[in-house]
């Protein structure tokens, strides 16, 4: 693709060229040079400042690598969550800040203990009643 027609410099043609340059930057220095070699020098001169700016941006934004520990731990957490029937609750809890997660855990445990205690009351009452009746008849 030749960019000599950019002498006319319609907006979309400049858009196309600048993006072609960005794509070439991502692919490597050789691609950039090839693109420039195929482009009308007069046009290149006109957009030179934008090309240099794009080259600065590409250098200023290098890729980063997450820690291996984080990637492994998250994988394990996802595997564990994947075995649950209702992962929505899990995801919701995960989405909370750490302090709220702790409070939710304590609150959840307290609620569960309360429900168990209430649920066990009739059983305990029945056992106590049976015990009283048994001791009274004995």
């Amino acid at each position: 693709m030749l960019f000599s027609f950019f002498r006319s410099q319609s907006g979309s043609q400049v858009d196309d060229f600048l993006m072609a340059h960005a794509d070439a930057l991502v692919r490597g220095v050789e691609e950039v040079q090839t693109l420039k070699d195929r482009t009308d020098p007069a046009f290149l001169h006109q957009v030179d400042d934008l090309l240099k700016l794009a080259e600065m941006i590409s250098l200023a934004l290098p890729g980063v690598i997450p820690s291996e520990q984080f990637v492994n731990e998250l994988r394990q957490q996802l595997i564990m969550a994947g075995t649950l029937d209702d992962v929505t609750l899990w995801a919701w809890i995960r989405g909370l800040p750490p302090r709220t997660q702790l409070a939710a855990s304590i609150g959840g445990a307290t609620l569960t203990a309360g429900v168990v205690w209430f649920a066990r009351r009739p059983v305990r009452n029945a056992i106590e009643g049976w015990w009283h009746r048994w001791t009274a008849t004995a």
């Binding site: 400049v14 794509d23 996802l78 969550a81 649950l84 899990w90």
Partner: protein, 206 residues
């Protein structure tokens, strides 16, 4: 979500397309695991450059994948590929993160500048570092969508079609936005020091 061993043994997770994996992942955790391997680093990068630090990048990356896991059964490809869907989840979580903190979106500076850039000449190193810091500060001043575009293009190295799917725009609109982003950035760099616009431009070789 677990599957019988006889079913999963027939599946080639590594060679499967995303669309296949997504269908399998609805009741097969290994398929979701493969999707995770493919995208965790990309999503982490995207979030790192939108939050400005590794701590929040880890926290939000976790949330993205837990949310994806929770909703993958409801996911249907209506012209939005799985990768774009993930980036949209990430984008929404980052937007909420910024809203909760009332902060301007940031492209990382401190972490980046402390990352030990190596140069042969100390003086040149200081000057280059200063220029890069100024450039990153200028990128911070851009509207959110323009920062997003620069990250998706230069950090994530996505095609215009992929960026269009994530940002819900046509390829033509993405190209036009990129052109306008460069012009804005140039304007910000010039305005930074109104008394010395030419000096500023020379520093950047513009």
């Amino acid at each position: 979500m677990m599957m019988g061993r006889e079913v999963t043994a027939e599946r080639n997770y590594t060679l499967a397309e995303d669309t296949e994996l997504v269908e399998w992942a609805k009741d097969d955790s290994r398929a979701f695991g493969e999707l995770y391997e493919r995208y965790v680093k990309k999503i982490y990068n995207y979030i790192y450059y939108r939050t400005g630090n590794h701590h929040d990048a880890e926290d939000l990356t976790s949330r993205v994948f837990f949310r994806a896991l929770a909703h993958i059964r409801n996911y249907t490809d209506r012209g939005v590929p799985f990768s774009a869907w993930l980036y949209r989840i990430a984008h929404n979580l980052v937007a909420n993160w910024h809203r909760d903190r009332g902060r301007q979106q940031v492209v990382p500076l401190d972490d980046y500048l402390a990352s030990g850039l190596s140069f042969d000449a100390p003086e040149a190193a200081a000057e280059d570092s200063e220029e890069e810091q100024r450039l990153l500060e200028s990128i911070q001043e851009l509207p959110e969508e323009r920062q997003q575009l620069l990250i998706l293009k230069f950090v994530e190295r996505l095609s215009n079609a992929e960026i269009g799917e994530i940002m819900d725009r046509t390829e033509g609109a993405i190209k036009s936005l990129y052109h306008r982003t460069l012009l804005s950035l140039r304007g910000i760099l010039e305005d930074e020091d109104p008394s010395k616009p030419e000096k500023r431009r020379r520093r950047f070789g513009l």
